[in-house]
Amino acid sequence: MAVGLPENIFITKLDAAANWARSNSLWPMPFATACCGIELMATAASRHDLARFGAEVMRFSPRQCDLLIVAGRVVMKMLPVLQRIWLQMPEPKWCISMGACACSGGVFDTYAVVQGIDRFIPVDMYVPGCPPRPEQLLQAVMDMQAKVRRTGTVMGREFAIRDMPAGPAPFDSDERYRIEDTRLVQLGGFSAAATSAGRGATQG
């Protein structure tokens, strides 16, 4: 924000007003990859109406959205794209990880699927289910609204303090063992070629 205030001044009423406005007009960025995308569309359709929550405006451009909904499994070819989309979104932004595959890899514990996007993207809300019922997604949106109202600030201070990766360590011991055992993947070599988004990101 353009208001140049020192960090230890709280503008409570302005915060509350900004949070109210932001929570009731969360514009989703639907990052719909697989089956959860169909349930996302069903949530936006007429029976479970997402428009009641001010969120029917699914702008597909990340520059105009504030809520990234990752619906569906993210494979390793797609992860750099996801990271780039996340970096392109302007603050304030939040992320909902919808479905078991986005939360933890789901049924697909295979060579290609990332076991949870929270290993690489900061996630605010997790929706379990395979796929989650539209009612569950609506509950997640409502909880997201409550979270924004509760912890939001006009200056976005709540984002600056989270500097650790949110999910499990990207390399858990099982993976490390597999890598050391076969010595086939050069750490960093594969990812440097794969991610151009990664060059701009900081390491937590």
Partner: protein, 163 residues
């Protein structure tokens, strides 16, 4: 109807036919693959290539070859189906491409290359199709583990404050 004795007269007697349920299969060797498939398309009317796939026999008891490439053919006018099975072995797993006969083989052969490492000579654009270009293993081979070798998590992490 394709007659086995006619094919054997034209292409040699090492063609073996078998039946299972209602599938009809012939096992041939790679040397007669392209002439046989051309003849099946032009003379016997198998105008659609239904599928082109491969199987890795590494963990199968009693297997003699490393891979089999299977061509599933269909004659649209008579409804007749035929499966043509070709054994392929390492180190040089190369087969002639059937892109010139059926354009549908384009991506099917690319997928077999990507997943198994069997290349097709004469294919206009044989590169990886499902895995990323930098990937260096062949996932559907039996010696590649299900959970991979760490490629899936080899990415930088973006934190809240850094984005």
């Amino acid at each position: 109807m394709v007659c086995l004795t006619e094919l054997q007269q034209k292409f040699g007697s090492q063609i073996v036919e078998s039946h299972f349920r209602d599938n009809r299969r012939i096992d041939i060797s790679a040397s007669i693959l392209l002439p046989l498939l051309t003849s099946l398309k032009t003379e016997y009317g198998f105008n659609m290539l239904v599928d082109l796939t491969a199987v890795d026999w590494l963990e199968y008891d009693g297997a003699t070859d490393r891979f089999s490439v299977i061509y599933l053919l269909l004659n649209l006018d008579s409804g007749e189906r035929l499966a043509v099975r070709v054994p392929v072995n390492l180190p040089d797993a190369v087969l002639p491409s059937v892109y010139g006969l059926w354009r549908g083989a384009d991506w099917m052969e690319r997928e077999v290359w990507d997943m198994f490492g069997i290349s097709f000579s004469g294919h206009p654009d044989l590169r990886r199709i499902l895995m990323p270009e930098e990937f260096d293993a062949f996932p559907l081979r039996k010696d590649y583990p299900l959970k991979g070798r760490g490629e899936r998590h080899n990415f930088p992490v973006i934190t809240r404050s850094g984005s």
